[in-house]
Symmetry: C2
Subunit: 197 residues, 2 copies
């Protein structure tokens, strides 16, 4: 049986964690991005569908492709961030199910032609995987700045012209500089957001 993590870990993951708008110049290398994926990939998805896909936008050339799709307030901080992850999904994720969910041989065919089931599955599960990415980054000592203020169609046209992957949201990644943080937002009271039945 597991015990609770210590206070320092709970603070790093949740209690003291912040959305960062500014990062140190320290780069994020390939090994760190691989370590990040090797951690977040273990988070659970429905039927092990794993529809989430990630493009780590790091080169100046790739950043420039992203620039025109960003909402005004997100341009400068995103261009300056060491890496921007595009959290996306693969509309053909179910083609992987024969190897990823062999317990149900009919899993792939369950999705074929069922656009409503595909739409719910990709949005729910790639969002879960995006949250795993944010928390895995914090667990590795990185800082994250997630955003949905951008033009999804423009990102898709620039990065996924073949039409198979679709963008969900963005996450700036790096080693944070707290001088760029905004005042921390409040949170809803327990009785507003939860019930015990």
């Amino acid at each position: 049986m597991s015990e609770a993590l210590d206070d320092a870990a709970l603070k790093q993951l949740f209690l003291d964690a912040r959305t960062f708008n500014k990062f140190q110049s320290r780069p994020v290398d390939d090994a760190t991005l691989h370590a990040l994926v090797d951690l977040m990939k273990w988070g659970p998805t429905s039927m092990n569908t794993q529809p989430g896909r990630i493009v780590f936008v790091r080169s100046a050339e790739a950043k420039e492709k992203l620039k025109g799709a960003l909402s005004g307030g997100n341009v400068d901080k995103t261009m300056a961030a060491p890496v921007t992850a595009i959290v996306a999904w693969d509309t053909e994720f179910h083609e992987q199910l024969p190897t990823q969910f062999p317990a149900m041989p009919g899993a792939r065919d369950m999705f074929h032609g069922n656009e409503a089931l595909i739409a719910a599955t990709v949005m729910r599960n790639s969002s879960l995987q995006g949250a795993y990415l944010i928390l895995a980054a914090r667990a590795l000592g990185l800082d994250a700045g997630p955003m949905s203020g951008f033009n999804n169609a423009a990102v898709d046209a620039a990065f996924f012209p073949e039409g198979k992957w679709k963008s969900n949201f963005l996450v700036n990644l790096g080693y944070g500089d707290a001088s760029g943080n905004w005042p921390r937002g409040p949170r809803l009271a327990f009785d507003t957001m939860a019930r015990i039945a």
Copy 2:
């Protein structure tokens, strides 16, 4: 600057964590559920919208209300779990924005009547919050068994007849009994799920 959490913490959160189908008889008390919400609530959401809502289904009476909505394979394990969290969203989440996102006085009105923006915001962000719930549970030494195999409309009719909250997915919670675990599913290779651009 944060360091990476130690290996034991990374294992508890991700590397060795599993989806549990069976739980010990040890109950989950109110204080633990409050601690869980007080941790997961700090995870980031777009514009601090916090659309996620949670019903902790724990009493025999509430479990019985849930039973008829569950897919066949999820009935027995869910009825036996100490608690089942309904991760839901509030379709009127934006009414909270004047206190939750005071930096943008027009935030609430931006959502009024914009059903497409509301739909994307609630699904993306309540899913993020559901992922924070799963990882916060693990961080507190609890185990989680998330599921989307149930009839959302039936859960909504039973628990949210007023029509304001809508169910997203379910998470069984308790202290796990690993004897009920299935073989662990594989994960996609880095090059299948990610790119560095």
